[in-house]
Amino acid sequence: MTATTAQAHHKAKASDRAKAEARLGWYLAGPAFVVMLAVTAYPIVQAVYDSLFRDQLTDPSGRKFIGLRNYWVILTDPVWWQAFWTTILITVITVIAELILGFALAFVMHRAVRGLRGLLRTAILVPYGIITVVSAFAWFYAFDITSGYVNHWFDWVPGISPDLNWFASRGTSLFVIMASEVWKTTPFISLLLLAGLAQVPGDLEEAAEVDGATAWQRLMRVIIPNMKAAIMVAVLFRALDAFRIFDNVFIMTKGANGTEVLSLLAYRQSISQLQIGLGAAVSVLLFLCVVGICFIAIKLFKVDLAGARGES
């Protein structure tokens, strides 16, 4: 009898303390949480709602509930699919290029002597600090047919002549767009990979060396497997980021010549053409694509975001 009451007493006390701590926790963290929800959850819900209407700001009286017809219109339109595949193409190519370049940079910094490492780090942080729009202009002007110098420098390369207008065809435009994207974001990925590299214990590598592994084998069999988590997280973050690409495309081509990406399509529908219903539907579809990428990454590739972020 006494034992049970004593136990009940303990329980009550424990939950009191826990309750007070939980309350304080939410008092402190609550405002940030509410703000985050307010600036994202509310707009996306609103977008889902808007996407169910035919709604043009140019014709306010024509607003009408049409169910999922906006989605039908979009998904049967080759414009959407062209933008979709362009976005996928950009995402895949830039992430692969960034991963290879970023790894090379990370490896160089990891191996460099102290002073040199600082210098290299400073250098690669410059692209990180630059506004994306500025980087887009820098690349655009370098390649531009009137103001650029690239054509003059590389006119010995077959296919490049002073008359080559890089932004007149799809392939060349995408090349410059992707080059600027890779340049701007490789530093970030290489810093993430450098942190991952630093976490591979040095003695693992030494053990492999003693076991007779070559430098290449040490890289492929010891280092990379041990930083898989860091690589996966870096890839996922970059992929999501690349999938939202907007600034470079807007500055360089405004989506001309088959370079339109999904973000630009959504922007054009709603902000330029004031087709609120259609624009909202594109926004929702874009959102679903991002959710899909996350889902694939987490379920299929088992990217442990929380674990990799030291949260397990």
Binding site: Q7, H10, K11, K13, A14, R17, A18
Partner: protein, 419 residues
Amino acid sequence: MASIDVKNIVKEYGDGFLAVKGISLDIADGEFMILVGPSGCGKSTLLRMIVGLEDITDGELLIGGERMNEKAPRDRNLAMVFQNYALYPHLTVRENIAFPLRLHRGEFSEAEIKSRVERASDMLELNDHLDRKPANLSGGQRQRVAMGRAIVRNAQAFLFDEPLSNLDAKLRGQMRTEIARLQRSLATTTVYVTHDQTEAMTLGDRVAVLSAGELQQVASPRALYEQPVNLFVAGFIGSPPMNFLPGELGGGKIRLPFGEFDLPDRVARAAGDRSLVIVGIRPEAFEDAKLTQPRDGSFQFEANVDVTEWLGSELYAYVPFQTHEAVEAKLAELERQLDSEALRTQFVVNLDSASRVRDGDTAALWFDPAKMLVFDPETTENLTYDEAEATRLDEENEADRKASIERARARAAKEGAAA
């Protein structure tokens, strides 16, 4: 300086876990008290309750006769050295040491702070490092800075929470003597938590052995060593640890794994009508018959030595034996409590380094049965515990302590007069 009285203190965590199950301890003014036990025994919790970082669930804490249960740490005027030193990384060594003094604005003048910091740094030989940041110091230096921060103000007592556990073996030995020297010269009441029985034995005036939140025994190091109250204390104190063997009694004989012997009266009295006991024999009780002539009444036997370790000053020989299934479970449980792992049943004997006993030998050994302890296999209590002898050892130790403090004071006075 003050005495610390811990009266039946209990610590219960929010989830109902009892970390300290009612411990009472009287720590005299100027005494060096060690709290020792395996990890999770509640020793650090007890220390943190004394300093005020943990609330006391039940019981009473008196410092200098004043109840302290409800006081904030800063009002208890205690100084603590943390396991990871807790040095402020943004402050220099000088400012780390001065930190407690600067907290009370106006209480200490700049000149006084300076002189106090210098006195502390003289004592700890930190003069060359005063303007460095903790990150640039070695482990031993950090340790000394942490101690400097403790001694810079006149705290009522020093509390140490495993201060040497992050140092390597050699440095640990040096810092141990450093702490002992400092405590003797300042004669400040000190409570020192450790899991290392060597630290406990070398530093403490008295040692409190804890296990699973309960106090097992408080006594002088020598009394703990010679008169442990139970199996746990006997097994925890001493290195290499005491050997525990099953002893079967009957017909005026005691049967140990290595032979049958006449039952001495002392053991017979202690064992009463038990037919099975756990016998405890310290490794150093054994002798090599080839080197030392067995004394009258000693137990002599032949043992098959498995492995020997020659250490220069002594030789350890390991002898495997068949244990008795009735005590096997009890001894396994003891191993768990002691945080150790018994890989095989063997006992260890500590012989003179001149001994030629080697791996695979059959050695002739003997020991004096007077040094044999007998434990109840159920309650684990020491049946041969001699309370009068334990008290005598404690009193002897207390007298020695007072004498050494007196000597330290006289020396300080002489130096003061000379200067």
